[in-house]
Symmetry: C2
Subunit: 400 residues, 2 copies
C-alpha cells in the first residue's frame, strides 16, 4: 500500500461523499461537511462534478425547523445500472441495481445439485452469462458489473488467484467476462464486498476501524481502517479463516492444520456432527441441510445440535479473540449463510471463549453483531465496488 498521494485522497473524498449521499438519501452538502470532517470547498467541488456527470441530482429543498431550506443531494437512479454478483460454493446470486443502488431485479440459482454443480470456469461463465441476461435483458443500460468470488483475488488484475472450493488458480475471470459481455467488470472476494457494503450503509460508524466476519462454507474476515477497506500488501488481509487456533489440529482444505475454518466453516460443523453423533442423518444431506438441521435442532433444544454448537463455538471464540487482540476493531459484524441460519447460537457459544482470551481493553471497545440487512449484502457490495471503480476512474482522469 503506497502512502496517500493527492489522487488517493481525492478518491477517498469522492467515496466519502458518495456513501454519505447514499446513506443520507437525500442529504445536504452541509450535512456531509458536518459528518465527514471534509471542507465545504471539497464537498462542493465533488458534488459539482458528480452533478455534472449525472451521478447525483438535486432534490427540491424541504424546510425543516426554522433554518434556511437546504438543497439536498441524491444518487440519480437514471445514471444507469450496476450489477452485483455473489458467486458462492452452493449458489449464484445476481442482482441489478439502479444507480441509486435500489434493487431492480434479482435472481438466484442453486448450484449444489449433481446436475448444476460448477465444475469448470466455463460452467461458471455460462451460468453467469445466463443470469446476467435474466436481470439485464438490455445489457447496454449496465455501466459495470462487480463480481465476488470466494478465495484470494487480485483486484488490480482481476484474477481469481486461488478459489479453494474448485481448486482454481490464476483464473483471469475479469478479462474473460469483460470481453464476453463487452462491459467493465470488477473482481474481488465476498469479504471485501461485505465490507464495502457496510461502508456504504453506515459511513458514520465506518470512521472507526472495523471487521466483517463471514461464516459460510469458507470463513474469512475483512478489515476496515479509518473507514476504508484495508487490503494489506497483496489484497490478502483478513484471511482469518486460515489462522491457527490449534497447533497440529484438524486438517483444513487450505493445506494447513487447526485453522478456524476447519472448525467453524460448514464442513467443519458437519465434522463436529460426525464426532458427536456418528452417522447422524443431518450429515448425509450436504452441508446446507446439515446447518439447517443444526439451526432447527438448536431451536428445539436438540442435544446433538447443542453439543456441536458448543464445540464449534469454543474455536470460534478463540478465533474472534485473536481478531480482537490483533486488530482492536470497534465493531465485528457477522455475515454469510451460516451466520444467517446459526449465527445467534454460534455467537452465544463463542462468547465465553472471547471473554476468556481477549484482553480487557480491546474487548471493552468491541461490539459484535449479526448482519440483518435485507437483500444479498455480497451482491450489493460487489455492485458498489463496480460503481466506485467506474466513478473513481472518471474522477481521477477528470482531475488531471
Amino acid at each position: 500500500m503506497a502512502p496517500r498521494t493527492a489522487a488517493d485522497i481525492r478518491r477517498s473524498n469522492l467515496f466519502q461523499v458518495l456513501r454519505r449521499v447514499f446513506a443520507g438519501a437525500p442529504t445536504s452538502r452541509q450535512e456531509i461537511v458536518a459528518q465527514s470532517g471534509l471542507s465545504m470547498a471539497t464537498v462542493a467541488s465533488i458534488a459539482a462534478e458528480l452533478l455534472d456527470a449525472g451521478v447525483l441530482l438535486e432534490v427540491a429543498p424541504t424546510t425543516r425547523g426554522k433554518g434556511r431550506p437546504l438543497t439536498r443531494l441524491a444518487l440519480d437512479p437514471e445514471y444507469g445500472s450496476f450489477v452485483g454478483v455473489d458467486v458462492a460454493e452452493t449458489y449464484l446470486h445476481v442482482t441489478r441495481y439502479d444507480a441509486a443502488l435500489t434493487e431492480v431485479a434479482s435472481v438466484r440459482r442453486e448450484v449444489d445439485g449433481e446436475d448444476d454443480r460448477v465444475r469448470s470456469p466455463e460452467d461458471l461463465e455460462r451460468h453467469l452469462t445466463e443470469l446476467l441476461a435474466e436481470v439485464a435483458p438490455d445489457r447496454s443500460t449496465v455501466r459495470a458489473v462487480g463480481i465476488s468470488v470466494p478465495g484470494l483475488v487480485d483486484d488490480e488484475t482481476g484474477v481469481s488467484v486461488y478459489a479453494p472450493s474448485w481448486d482454481w488458480r490464476g483464473l483471469p475471470l475479469r478479462s474473460t467476462l469483460s470481453e464476453r459481455w463487452s462491459l467493465p467488470v470488477h473482481l474481488d472476494n465476498p469479504l471485501k464486498a461485505l465490507m464495502v457494503s457496510e461502508l456504504w450503509h453506515d459511513p458514520g460508524a465506518a470512521e472507526a476501524n472495523w471487521a466483517v466476519v463471514n461464516l459460510g462454507t469458507g470463513v474469512g474476515a475483512a478489515i476496515a481502517v479509518a473507514g476504508e477497506l484495508y487490503r494489506g500488501a497483496s489484497n490478502s488481509a483478513g484471511e482469518w479463516g486460515h489462522t491457527t487456533v490449534a497447533v497440529e489440529g484438524r486438517q483444513c482444505r487450505c493445506g494447513g492444520t487447526g485453522c478456524v475454518e476447519a472448525y467453524v466453516g460448514a464442513p467443519g460443523l458437519v465434522a463436529f456432527i460426525d464426532q458427536v453423533a456418528p452417522g447422524h442423518p443431518w450429515t448425509s444431506l450436504g452441508e446446507t441441510a446439515a446447518v439447517q438441521g443444526l439451526s432447527e435442532g438448536v431451536a428445539s433444544g436438540d442435544e446433538v445440535a447443542e453439543q456441536v454448537v458448543a464445540a464449534a463455538g469454543a474455536y470460534l471464540g478463540a478465533g474472534l479473540a485473536n481478531l480482537v487482540n490483533t486488530v482492536n476493531p470497534a465493531r465485528i459484524v457477522f455475515a454469510g449463510w451460516v451466520s444467517d441460519l446459526l449465527g445467534d447460537a454460534l455467537l452465544a457459544a463463542a462468547r465465553p471463549g472471547v471473554e476468556h482470551q481477549a484482553l480487557a481493553r480491546p474487548l471493552q471497545s468491541v461490539t459484535m453483531t449479526r448482519l440483518t440487512r435485507p437483500g444479498n449484502a455480497v451482491a450489493f457490495g460487489a455492485a458498489t465496488f463496480a460503481l466506485e471503480a467506474s466513478l473513481s476512474q472518471a474522477h481521477t482522469e477528470g482531475s488531471r
Copy 2:
C-alpha cells in the same frame, strides 16, 4: 480512529518530512518530494516552518554530478535534547539524544536482582528520576521525555492501563512524572516505540504495511498501515502475544490459555526447558540466564537447547502465520532481547510452521528479518514519539 481530517493530514505530512530528513541526513526538498509523493508546495511550507522554529537547518549544498547544487536539510542538533526511556521487566534503559537524534548519553540499570527489583510505581519513579539525572544533569535542555512501558498503554491520557509484569492497572505515569520533572512526558508501549523507530529509519519501506514483533519476557507486535502506526480502536492493536494458537493450551499470565506468549516469551522458553529436561541448571538462574544458556546451547549443538527451540518454534510459526494471514504485511521485523540472543535459531525453527500455515499469496509478499540496528531501538522510538508529539502540537497550533 476518526477519518483523516485536514489536521491529521498536516500531521502526517509533517512526520513524513521529518523522517525523511532524518533518514536522508541530509536531504533536499526535491528528494523528499520525489520519495514521498507530497507536493513541492507542501514540503516547502513544512520545511520553512521547521527552519523558522529551529528544528531544521540548511546544509551547504554539495555539487553532485552535473545538476544544479541543491540546498539540503538536516535536523538541527542544537534544537534541544529528547530522552527515550525503555522500561523493561528486567532492566531500565534511558538515553538522551540531541534533536538530530544522535545518542548523547545512555545508561542502563539491571533491575532483576532481589535488591533492585521494581516492586511499586514509586520504585520505578525513583529509578527513572535517578537515571534521568545521569543522562541529563541539566534538565532544562531537555524538550521532552518519551517513556515505553510494557503492556497496555493509553497514549492519549498517558496511563499505563495494564502492566502484566507488575500487575499495575490504571497507573497515571505521565502526569506523575511530568509533574515531578516539570517536563512534557509521552507514554506508550515498546511495540509502538519499535515501530516508530523503524518508521524513522526507513520511511521508504514504511510506505507498505508492516509489522514489528517483539520477543522478550512478553511478546507482542505493532502494525503500520501505509507508513503510519496503526493503533486500533483503543491503542490495543498488535496484542499478538495474547492470540491463541492452542485452544485449552498452556496457562498464560494474561489469564487466557494457549497464547503465543505462553510458549515463546522467556518464561515460556523456561517452561519448555523444564519439560524437555526437568531440573536443568539453566532454569534456576532466572529467565535472562536461561535464554543466554539456550543461545550458547544452540551454538554448540546442545540437544536440550535444540529441542526447546524446535518446540517453541512450532508455536511461533503458527503465531507468525496468523499475523501474515490476518494483516498481510510486506515485512515483519523481529526485535527484543530474546530475538537478540536467540532470534536466528527461533526464526529458523518457526519457518516450517509459517510455510505450512500461511496462505501462499500473503506468504509470498512478506519478508521476515531480525532487527540488527545498533543502540536501544525502544529508547530511540520513545524519543522519536516525544519529538513527534511536541512538534505536532506546535505545528498544529501554528497552523490554526
